[in-house]
């Protein structure tokens, strides 16, 4: 019988924790995405509107600058839910374009180059992989949504004072959680399209088409059936309605309400997650 | 003849091949060179998959700009791994034959024949996407030979083949070469190329560095020291005698005590020196050149010489 000398010694030094390992993917992805020229341009352009809004906040809080002007202007210059709803609407458009640019490059190249086995042969689960990709988009999209939104809210609190904050804290929460919901939905759309369409450019177009086509389809259902409920199937409308609920502003009476829209968004997110998990397998089976 | 007349090809700023002049006769011709040297570019130029920036190419008198004529006499097994989406091995070969204008019955007959020739009959109805690397290699070969072409171009055709299939494939090349057809192939398996090639074209950095039969190419490189293995019983004595000769660059003991490995700058002077040593009463059992194969040639011409 051959007796071999045991020369192998497993590594017994310190290992990074689970979350730390997972963050390796976002670290490199952020670096790659932020090095793209188009992303830089988009980031710069997307800050114009927050800067304008900041000017608006300053103006609204310095009544001495527009004293004597009509009540209509006073109402126009109010910093309330409606103001933040408009801010969120504009910023969400930039976030959508950003997702269409940054999202498709996250999974498609791994599938094209059959790189998934490389990830899954490390101590990393499919859930970790999806989560790490979502974190990539969360980080990037936050730069154009949550970060300027919270800065704007912070500026208003700073100028208007603690009393204003006590009465309107829910606006800050709405900006944070509203954008978080938006980022979640948009990121899932971007990742799913990236997982199913290996052509990066088409995957990007699909992210935009998802919103346009569903809007068109929802409108068609409304017109053909002479109903209003199909608006809930329009992701843009659904998100706006949920935001309106969070920001405590009026929602059209005859259109679907916050609960219906939130349910649709949850359902669509669940569907997208399931589709993602189905596609991301370490081995491709060809029958 | 396959003729390249002052052909250059650039991919933007990147050089593909530069000022290539070649006359490839019928028989088996191997293109040898390191990765990125321009072998595939030469093949793609011959088949019209890429166009030259300058120069003229003719394949048996036909320009690659006329695919409707060229592809009738040419079969090309590319290195691209993918087949048409969703196609089975049989579909892959059969549809190619339909495009050649064969009737359905004839296309089927030819498809099965060529698939059988590469030993894939059992897997013919499976999707190409599910094939192993070797099977994909073989189905590409089947597709290239299915219409019985005069010119067969094969990019790395022996990659991924098991020894048995490799031997059968080489036999097929020999058949083709022996019947007066062109077989042009590229390979990194240098020993095999050495064995069955009629001629070798060595290419590096997009330029042809040598072409012709291996032995004749070797003989033309006078300035390169030649290496010989001397089988002798008294190796230390022979070594000391050789060191006295001016043309000897290096003498070292051969591995496993086979004798001496001698590097000489002058083959004729070396042969005369051996004669003198033998006449002096020192036994020399045998002399064998050790660098007259493609590996050695490759090492010298492409690896920068010694």
């Amino acid at each position: 019988m051959a007796v071999y000398r045991r020369g192998y010694q497993r590594y017994e030094g310190a290992l990074t924790n689970h979350f730390g390992r997972m963050m390796v993917i976002p670290r490199y992805s952020w670096e790659r995405i932020l090095s793209q020229r188009f992303v830089t341009i988009l980031l710069v352009v997307s800050l114009f509107w927050p800067v304008l809004c900041a000017g608006f906040v300053y103006l609204a809080n310095h009544t001495e600058l527009w004293q004597g002007l009509g009540g209509g202007l006073k109402r126009f210059l109010a910093i309330n839910g409606r103001f933040f709803a408009v801010f969120m609407n504009v910023q969400s458009t930039f976030a959508l374009i950003m997702a269409a640019v940054a999202g498709p490059g996250l999974i498609a190249p791994d599938l094209v180059n059959n790189a998934l086995p490389l990830y899954f042969s490390r101590p990393m689960t499919r859930q970790d992989y999806i989560l790490s990709r979502l974190i990539v988009l969360l980080g990037i999209l936050s730069l154009v949504t949550i970060v300027p939104g919270m800065l704007l809210f912070g500026m208003q609190v700073g100028i208007a004072g603690f009393d204003w904050f006590i009465q309107n804290w829910y606006l800050g929460a709405a900006i944070f959680f509203g954008f978080l919901l938006y980022i979640g939905v948009v990121s899932l759309v971007a990742l799913t399209s990236s997982a199913y369409v290996k052509w990066r450019v088409v995957a990007g177009a699909l992210v935009l088409a998802f919103f346009f086509l569903l809007t068109g389809a929802a409108e068609m259902v409304n017109h053909v059936f002479r109903v209003d409920w199909a608006s809930a199937l329009n992701p843009a409308y659904a998100l706006n309605t949920v935001w309106a609920g969070m920001l405590d502003i009026d929602i059209p009476d005859d259109k679907p309400g916050v609960m219906e829209c939130a349910t649709f968004l949850l359902a669509i997110s669940g569907g997208l997650l399931a589709a993602l998990a189905r596609k991301l397998r370490p081995v491709e089976v060809v029958r | 003849m396959i003729v390249f007349d002052n052909v250059s090809k650039f991919y933007g700023d990147v050089l593909g091949v530069n000022r290539v002049d070649l006359h490839i006769p019928p028989g088996i011709t191997s293109l040898v060179g390191p990765n990125g040297s321009g072998k595939t570019t030469l093949m793609n130029l011959m088949t019209g998959l890429v166009y030259p920036n300058s120069g003229v190419i003719q394949v048996r008198g036909i320009s690659p700009f006329a695919p409707e004529k060229l592809m009738k006499i040419l079969g090309y097994a590319t290195q691209y791994d993918a087949g048409p989406r969703g196609a089975t091995g049989f579909d892959f070969v059969y549809t190619g034959l339909l495009l050649h204008g064969f009737t359905k019955a004839e296309a089927q007959r030819r498809a099965w024949a060529s698939i059988e020739r590469v030993g894939l009959t059992g897997a013919a109805k499976r999707k190409v996407a599910g094939y192993s690397k070797g099977m994909r290699q073989r189905i590409r070969l089947a597709q290239a030979i299915a219409h019985d072409p005069e010119v067969l171009i094969l990019d790395e055709p022996l990659n991924g083949l098991d020894p048995l299939v490799r031997a059968e494939t080489i036999a097929l090349f020999r058949d083709y070469g022996a019947s007066g057809r062109h077989v042009v192939l590229s390979s990194h398996v240098l020993q095999e190329v050495d064995v069955f090639s009629d001629q070798v074209i060595l290419i590096a950095n997009g330029m042809i560095v040598a072409e012709g039969q291996i032995r004749s190419v070797r003989e033309e490189i006078h300035e390169h020291p030649s290496q010989f293995l001397l089988h002798c019983r008294n190796a230390s004595r022979v070594a000391s005698m050789l060191f006295e000769e001016e043309h000897i660059a290096e003498v070292k003991m051969a591995p496993e005590g086979q004798g001496l490995l001698v590097l000489t700058k002058n083959r004729e002077a070396f042969s005369m020196a051996l004669e003198r040593i033998a006449l002096s009463g020192t036994d020399i059992d045998g002399v064998m050149p050790t660098d007259e194969n493609v590996d050695a040639l490759y090492e010298y011409l492409i690896g920068g010489g010694r």
């Binding site: 502003i249 | 190619g96 204008g101």
Partner: protein, 364 residues
């Protein structure tokens, strides 16, 4: 083998891939969606009519017209009887900017619905007073034809046929580059121009059948459930003509968009950007001079659509210009012009395909 035979062989080989590939699935969805919606509408109308007739009072059209805003809920109940649906909804009070500390009273709203056998009227009461009234037909052929016209031009042509052709025709060359399988076609003994035409024919046949069939199916799904007498009159007057023109518009859309996307797939590595530009061009061509309008596929398609799209009267003029063709061409000019533009684009594509090289490493 003649070039025509080669074209047909290539088209036949490619057709199976276009029709049965998984990638085409969403194209079918786009084409079938309107039919599904109109079929659903017909089923829904039938079920609702049955369901509502058995619930509440079936009022006459005359009574329905008498229900006017300003009436109290009790007056309405006295006049029209028991409604089909009747419910209340309490709305959460909003914070008011002008007086945030004011006591917030929940708002209670009442909703009723009556049905006269063909139409429904939705009533909204606030503080017991009728403040909102909305009458809708369950099935109204004339209205449905207008809805169909709008759906056809806004959804089917602008989005369905456009994106469908984008998917089908760009795949023919650029998709094969991405799959690294285009060399397979280039190694066939056919001229590149013949290959291009063969692939175009395959895309065209597939797209025309899918979208022409989808147009016909949705038209039938819209028309067939209507009142039989109205339907008979429609078929006897211009029904067939309408159906034919809708199908023709969808098919011609495939001819025009197909050639453009085929050429885009050959000429550009990233054909999505020009596709978006084209979508914008097609949408804004109402602003352009007549000559430039004629360089848009949509202009010709809208010109041959049998029913003009009804635009809401309150729509801004700018939007109206965006959505309606300013100077419709005659059918002959429209078809001829479209075919002319297509021939021009295909000629450019043949020039491009001759120069096309296999260089998969640059695809991404």
């Amino acid at each position: 083998m003649t070039p025509w035979q080669q074209i047909w062989t290539i088209a036949r080989l490619e057709l199976g891939r276009v029709f049965f590939s998984k990638r085409s699935f969403w194209v079918y969805l786009l084409a079938i969606f309107p039919s599904v919606i109109f079929t659903g509408h017909a089923i829904d109308a039938t079920l609702k009519a049955r369901q509502w007739s058995g619930r509440g009072e079936k009022i006459t059209a005359e009574v329905m017209n008498k229900l006017q805003t300003g009436m109290t809920d009790q007056e309405v109940l006295r006049l029209a009887g028991k409604p089909v649906t009747d419910f209340e909804r309490t709305r959460r009070p909003r914070r008011r900017e002008e007086d945030p500390d004011a006591e917030k009273q929940p708002e209670v709203r009442r909703y009723m619905m009556y049905f006269d056998g063909k139409r429904r009227v939705d009533l909204r009461f606030e503080d017991g007073k009728l403040v909102g009234r909305n009458t809708r037909d369950l099935l109204n052929f004339e209205e449905d034809r207008k809805v169909y016209a709008g759906m056809f031009q806004f959804f089917y042509l602008r989005l369905g046929v456009f994106f469908g052709c984008l998917g089908i025709f760009i795949n023919l060359f650029r998709g094969e580059m991405l799959d690294r399988s285009l060399h397979f076609w280039f190694l066939a003994p056919v001229k590149r121009e013949v290959l291009l035409l063969g692939k175009y024919c395959a895309g065209l046949i597939a797209a025309s059948l899918i979208f022409g069939g989808g147009a016909l199916l949705s038209f039938l799904a819209m028309a067939l459930p209507q009142d039989p007498a109205e339907l008979q009159t429609f078929w006897q007057t211009n029904g067939v003509e309408h159906a034919v023109w809708y199908v023709a518009a969808a098919m011609l859309g495939c001819v025009g968009y197909g050639s453009v996307f085929l050429a885009a797939g050959l000429l550009l590595k990233n054909p999505i950007a020009p596709a978006i530009v084209m979508l914008l061009w097609e949408s804004m061509n109402g602003f352009l001079p007549d000559v430039m309008q004629k360089l848009s596929v949509l202009h010709y398609l809208q010109s041959i659509c049998p029913v003009p799209v009804p635009l809401p009267s309150d729509m801004p003029t700018v939007m109206k210009m965006l959505l309606a063709p300013a100077a419709p061409s005659s059918a002959a000019v429209a078809v001829g012009g479209l075919l002319g533009v297509t021939a021009l684009v295909l000629f450019a594509a043949t020039q491009a395909v001759r120069r096309l090289e296999i260089n998969y490493s640059t695809e991404a």
